[in-house]
């Protein structure tokens, strides 16, 4: 058989026959090595000269804390005009949730110059416009409905049926604006547990995620939640995905959608194979900590010495001694056994099936940690990498900040916030890069009600006297 001819038949596109580059720049682009090509098309630091994918979308956000606000911040970073509506003079409770007092950015509101917003608010509310409206009082309803008429959608986070009772749920707003996309990001959603609100930790616990996170009790561990609010960030992003799908659907049908999003439900997806595993065998998945149930060696080990024994910060002084190691293929595992001077381990666990079982993993990881007991984190990483194995230090925030890889990609960067000055952010830049319509970070947030005039006067056309009147009545 003439393979050349057969391959030619299969070809959908013959690159040789394509028309050549249309310009000198395009020619240069085609000749570029891939690394240079990526650097050119993503062009870190010049995001603002490119168009925004969601420009023209206007979204209302009556959200609090992280879960639902983050779903909307995703839109704002992609160019949507997001109007965050907060309770007059109080604001989102997340503003008051800060790690340390030093982190406060002032003022919270015009009437509260001595209160600030905590850095816990970061990333969940970037680029938004902040207005105030006590939308549940009757006098505020016309204002709220006017905003509904002019917006593409709304995200809210209240308990079961609250907005419906206040006559501003999907059943009401769809009568005003049939194209309206309505998101209810409830804790439990509808169902038997309708009265339950949610927190990230509750989501992790109720979905079964915390039960398979952390080390097994046999090794002194307990059910564990991830330190940061990962399920808030994760499920917020899942809402954004649903919003994108709803907008695509609306483009085809002209109709809005109600999106009901239960945080505890979203977290079940992270449990991976736990659910079908139970369905097939009746096995309830257990915690396996820093090791892996599918691959061995593929885990995080502890070395004996910190990389920074003289540092003042305990995260550096004591914690900089963990290493991620991966050597699960036979040849790699053999090499690892030679490095740690335990060739007998390889002779006993020659195949992956042999070493992935629990007793084998216990023996293997102990042998690696015994070998690493008199070494620093960087020594272990260097030795393993030089042998061609995959190894990486478990880094802390400072090391992420100083990491050249992140700096060159713009993942972590300094932003001159128009209000708050020099701010270190990841926010928009921590997500995937888009060559044509990149995400961007304009501002961290603004004080409560800072955009009242912009939205009520410039968008809705209310006279200033009316705005002042609503303000004096505590409605805005």
């Amino acid at each position: 058989m003439d393979w050349e001819k057969e391959i030619q038949k299969l070809k959908v596109c013959d690159f040789e026959e394509l028309p050549g580059p249309k310009s000198k720049e395009e020619l240069e682009e085609m000749k570029m090595p891939f690394e240079d090509y990526c650097r050119r098309v993503f062009d870190v630091g010049n995001e603002f000269v490119k168009p925004e994918a969601l420009k023209g979308v206007r979204w209302m956000s009556t959200t609090m804390y992280i879960f639902t606000p983050h779903s909307v911040a995703n839109l704002a970073e992609l160019g949507a005009e997001v109007i965050k509506i907060e309770m007059p003079r109080m604001g989102d409770p997340m503003r008051h949730t800060s790690p340390f007092n030093e982190a406060y950015l002032y003022p919270l509101h015009d009437t509260r110059p001595m209160t600030g917003t905590g850095l816990g608010f970061t990333n969940a509310n970037s680029n938004e416009y902040f207005i105030t409206l006590d939308y549940h009082v009757p006098e505020a309803k016309p204002v709220f409905y006017n905003l509904v008429k002019m917006s593409d959608g709304l995200t809210e986070c209240y308990r079961h049926g609250t907005f419906d009772r206040w006559k501003q749920g999907y059943r009401h707003v769809m009568e005003i604006n049939p194209r309206f996309i309505y998101v209810w990001g409830g804790g439990f959603g509808y169902g038997p547990k309708i009265f339950g609100g949610s927190y990230d930790i509750l989501g992790q616990a109720h979905a079964g995620l915390a039960s398979i996170t952390g080390t097994h009790e046999d090794f002194g561990g307990h059910a564990t939640k991830a330190t940061n609010w990962v399920i808030d960030w994760y499920s917020g992003t899942q809402i954004s995905v649903a919003i994108m799908a709803a907008m695509y659907w609306r483009g085809k049908t002209g109709l809005g959608t109600m999106i009901e999003f239960s945080q505890v439900q979203a977290a079940t997806r992270c449990c991976g194979y736990a659910v079908p595993l139970y369905g097939r065998f009746g096995i309830v998945r257990q915690r396996w900590g820093n090791w892996d149930t599918q691959l061995c060696v593929h885990g995080i080990i502890m070395t004996g010495k910190s990389d920074f024994p003289d540092a003042q910060n305990p995260q550096d002084r004591f914690e900089a001694r963990y290493v991620m190691v991966s050597a699960f293929q036979d040849a790699d595992f053999q090499e690892l056994c030679n490095i740690i001077k335990k060739p007998d381990l390889f002779s006993r666990y020659k195949t992956h099936k042999d070493r992935v079982g629990a007793p084998a993993q216990i023996e293997i990881y102990k042998a690696i940690e015994d070998w690493a007991a008199d070494k620093t984190r960087s020594e272990v990483v260097r030795i393993l990498k030089e042998a061609g194995l995959l190894a990486a230090p478990v880094m802390n925030d400072r090391e992420v900040y100083e990491c050249e890889h992140y700096r060159q990609r713009g993942t972590v960067r300094w932003n001159d916030d128009p209000l708050f000055g020099d701010i270190l952010v990841q926010s928009a830049y921590s997500c995937g890069l888009l060559s044509k319509t990149p995400r961007r970070h304009r501002w961290l947030w603004r004080p409560v009600g800072a955009d009242n005039v912009k939205i009520y006067h410039e968008l809705l056309g209310y006279p200033m006297s009316k705005i002042q009147e609503l303000y004096d009545k505590n409605i805005i």
Binding site: N101, D110, G421, I423, P447
Partner: protein, 162 residues
């Protein structure tokens, strides 16, 4: 609410006051003083620590109250209630916590790379109607002394890119 005072004061005509005075956490979370019942005006001494009633409520006849409750109602009387801001009975709702909860943070003027951060307290009054704020705060005009300090840092080479 962190707690309530359920006033059972005998009103003299065989009836009791039977009013629930709600103690809101914005004011009463850490509080020692005298509160008046919104319905009958009986003055009670309370001492509340971290939202828990540490002492009281004890009647203090003849003494003047320090503060009024925010809201009160009578559950056994068809939930007859006193909304916030009724003169002599309830306190107006200004959405402002007591001064001790308004924060006294240590201020940082410069980021770790030596460039000025804004957003410290106190801030100047708002630029506009209904709490609206401008889109750019000019550090040089807002706080000339910090700007000067920044220029000095630049001269000394203490301002870095990272």
């Amino acid at each position: 609410m962190c707690d309530i005072i359920w006033c059972k004061k005998d009103m003299g005509d065989g009836k009791v006051c039977d009013t629930v005075n709600y103690l809101d956490p914005y004011c009463f979370w850490n509080w020692e003083g005298k509160v008046a019942c919104a319905h009958c005006g009986t003055v009670y001494y309370i001492h509340m620590i971290q939202g828990h009633m540490y002492a009281g409520p004890d009647e203090k006849p003849g003494e003047k109250p320090d503060i009024l409750p925010l809201y009160a109602d009578q559950p056994n009387n068809g939930y007859f209630n006193y909304l916030p801001g009724i003169e002599g009975r309830t306190r107006p709702y200004t959405c402002l916590p007591r001064h001790i909860y308004l924060g006294k943070a240590d201020m940082v003027k410069f980021s770790i790379r030596g460039r000025p951060v804004r957003g410290w307290r106190p801030q100047p009054p708002s630029a506009g109607v209904a709490g609206s704020q401008g889109y750019f705060w000019d550090i040089e005009k807002l706080t000339p002394e910090v700007w000067e300090e920044y220029q000095e840092k630049i001269r000394k080479g203490e301002v870095k890119d990272w």
